[in-house]
């Protein structure tokens, strides 16, 4: 799983997604420790769902995805900041209602947008492979200050969470630290939602923290263990995804759950057997998991190119790469944007010069924002420079036309 060829291949395919994934894993597992301890696990899934709704909303309205997700997440944080102790409905019920609303609205929004099933899945479940430089920058800009805030205000946050009223009587502004925590939680979920998706964000927030809390005797030790568990699951998930041609996010989530199971098993065994024997059994179980993941490798990929020529393409991508990009002949017919964009992206990776004019043609057909953004991103990545495109305007708008003219002049 971890030989040099695999590592080189992973780095070449994931590129900027790797630091983004590691930063997300570390940040969410630190936040997750507090979320699990506060017994507010439901807030994790609600915020992730709201962020997905925000991304869908932003894409439909031609806004930056992070702006949409952050706006809705912060709105939910503001709603949750209301003191529910003395109201007829508990906070969890409100969270439940928000979760249902956000889930329904995200599906309704994308259903009206003309996005294909694959893109809906991409919005809701995310994929680390889709991480762009902008995503990486957004994640760094949000998550590093969030980690810094937790590190700086660790003491008052811990006291406020453990015993809110005693903290208040001692003069600690519990509400201020709770708000700080949840604002950063909302922003981090918003920043990660586009590439991590609902499931991976929720997984990072809950599972590594739960694993660590089963084993740790001190909170700081628990946070460190949670970070290690999340990072390890991420590395194993990405490596297996690369080898076995499986979606990385889902693999990371399943591997995280396997770690949780091992931690539970260790606790049970520790009470019945000696510590060293329990640890030995767990190491064997871990070995079995690693062997199983290793055996998942797709045969044709396992026998693939030698080191140095690592252009590993998944089956679907290969198929897409061989397909022509054809817009419907009739001007009234709606193009299958999901298929077209997928084909374009795949061919762009292989043979950019040949599909250059296709990109320009696709942009001239006013693709929905999500697909337009994918095309622009692919072009930007290839040219290694920023390309202006106003998604709120048609392709014929002067600014967009200027971009098309400029693109047409390029070789």
């Amino acid at each position: 799983m971890f030989n040099l060829t695999t590592l080189e291949g992973i780095v070449s395919i994931y590129g900027g997604a790797l630091p983004a994934a590691f930063l997300m894993a570390a940040t969410f597992s630190v936040f997750g420790v507090f979320v699990v301890l506060k017994r507010m696990v439901f807030i994790g899934v609600t915020l992730s769902e709201v962020a997905a709704f925000g991304v869908a909303f932003a894409l439909v309205h031609g806004l930056p995805p992070f702006a949409g997700a952050a706006l809705f997440c912060l709105l939910v944080v503001a709603i949750l900041a209301y003191p529910y102790e003395f109201t007829r409905l508990p906070r969890d019920t409100i969270l439940g209602a928000i979760f249902i609303f956000a889930s329904g609205m995200s599906i309704l929004l994308v259903a009206r947008s003309g996005f294909g099933l694959e893109k809906v899945k991409a919005i809701l479940y995310g994929n680390l492979l889709f991480a762009s430089n902008t995503d990486l920058l957004t994640i760094c800009a949000v998550m590093l200050p969030a980690l810094l805030a937790i590190w700086l205000f660790y003491r008052p946050i811990l006291y406020s969470f453990l015993d809110r009223e005693s903290a208040i009587t001692l003069g600690i502004s519990a509400w201020r630290y709770e708000l700080l925590f949840f604002v950063f939680l909302g922003l981090t979920v918003a920043a990660a939602s586009r590439i991590a998706g609902v499931m991976l964000v929720f997984c990072y927030l809950v599972v590594p923290a739960a694993t660590a809390l089963l084993l740790a005797r001190h909170l700081l030790q628990g946070m460190l263990l949670a970070v290690l568990a999340a990072l390890f699951a991420t590395v194993m998930g990405i490596a297996t995804s690369y080898q076995a041609d499986l979606p990385p996010n889902q693999l990371i989530a399943v591997i995280s759950c396997a770690f949780l199971l091992l931690a539970l098993l260790y606790r049970q065994l520790r009470n019945r057997l000696s510590r060293s024997l329990a640890a030995g059994i767990i190491m064997m179980a871990f070995g079995c998991i690693t062997w199983f993941l290793d055996s998942l490798a797709a045969p044709e990929i396992a026998a693939a190119p030698a080191a140095g020529s690592c252009t590993i393409i998944t089956d679907t991508t290969t198929k897409a790469a061989e397909t022509d990009i054809r817009l419907p002949d009739s001007s009234n017919a709606t193009p299958d944007w999901a298929a077209l964009t997928e084909t374009f992206e795949a061919r762009m990776a292989n043979d950019a010069e040949k599909v250059w004019h296709d990109a320009v043609e696709l942009l001239q057909k006013n693709p929905p924002p999500f697909f337009g953004e994918s095309i622009i991103e692919a072009l930007e990545k290839h040219m290694n420079q920023k390309i202006f495109w106003d998604f709120s305007q048609p392709a014929t708008a002067p600014q967009n036309q200027k971009t098309i003219d400029w693109l047409q002049k390029k070789p």
């Binding site: 003395f86 003491r155 008052p156 811990l158 453990l162 015993d163 009587t169």
Partner: protein, 245 residues
């Protein structure tokens, strides 16, 4: 109208307490002196916890006057034991150290004097063997002692507790109430706490503050015990009569 004593610490004048403008108890007049050991007695819903939370500043009074010195020296609050979540992987020593957080700021470590203070409370409360145990590994009585120690290391002169013995077995309850009494007597700490059962405070408290059906006031403990005994005798008589009939 009450005339406050020189050593009065907390004064309530015509205080009305409650939630959302709905009064739980009204016309509360109470003066608490420094070093007093005062249990708050009353049935469920009589307003014991509401009054203590109002004194702490966690709830605003509905009307009346409340005077306390907590802006200079915050009180030590010990909530009901069930509010402290045992899921947190924090040791007894770490919880006690939390009482020093306002003095330590964000990252300063406790100095030698502070560490000795923590050790002395651990020793005094018979917790030195359990200092490195997590909340999950401590009994209910020990957790309550840890929270009292945390309140004391913060330098609080007033200890306010909401049913500190709730959920404890009889022996632990007696031990805990006696510990509180010694804090009041030996260290001049003012100890206010909500209490259900009268038995653990017999021989320790002379007076109680009783809340009952919207009325409140200080009562000598013996008066309350006599009334309880009379009710008990009356009930026994009725039982005997019904048995005979």
């Amino acid at each position: 109208m009450m005339q406050p004593d020189d050593d009065s610490l907390i004064i309530c004048r015509n205080l009305a307490i409650g939630y959302d403008n709905e009064a739980v108890a009204e016309k509360i007049n109470l003066e608490i002196r420094k070093g007093e050991f005062l249990p708050f007695i009353g049935p469920n819903g009589s307003g014991k916890t509401t009054l203590l939370r109002t004194i702490l500043g966690l709830l605003p009074p509905l009307s009346g006057e409340l005077i306390h010195p907590f802006s200079q020296q915050p009180p030590g609050y010990v909530p009901q034991i069930s509010t402290l979540d045992r899921l947190y992987p924090v040791t007894a020593r770490e919880v006690i150290t939390m009482g020093l957080y306002p003095r330590l700021g964000l990252w300063q470590k406790p100095d030698r004097q502070m560490r000795e203070q923590i050790d002395s409370y651990l020793q005094r409360f018979n917790l030195q063997q359990h200092a490195e145990r997590t909340l999950n590994e401590l009994s209910g009585g020990m957790r309550q002692k840890v929270m009292i120690a945390r309140a004391l290391v913060s330098g609080a002169e007033v200890l306010i507790m909401d049913e500190p013995a709730a959920g404890l077995d009889e022996q632990s309850e007696f031990d805990l109430i006696e510990l509180l009494y010694r804090l009041a007597r030996e260290e001049q700490k003012t100890v206010l706490f909500a209490q259900h059962s009268l038995d653990p405070i017999i021989g320790l408290a002379n007076e109680v503050f009783r809340l009952y059906q919207g009325q409140s006031g200080r009562l000598p403990l013996y008066a309350l015990l006599s009334a309880r005994n009379l009710r008990h005798i009356d009930k026994e008589n009725k039982n005997v009569q019904s048995h005979h009939s």
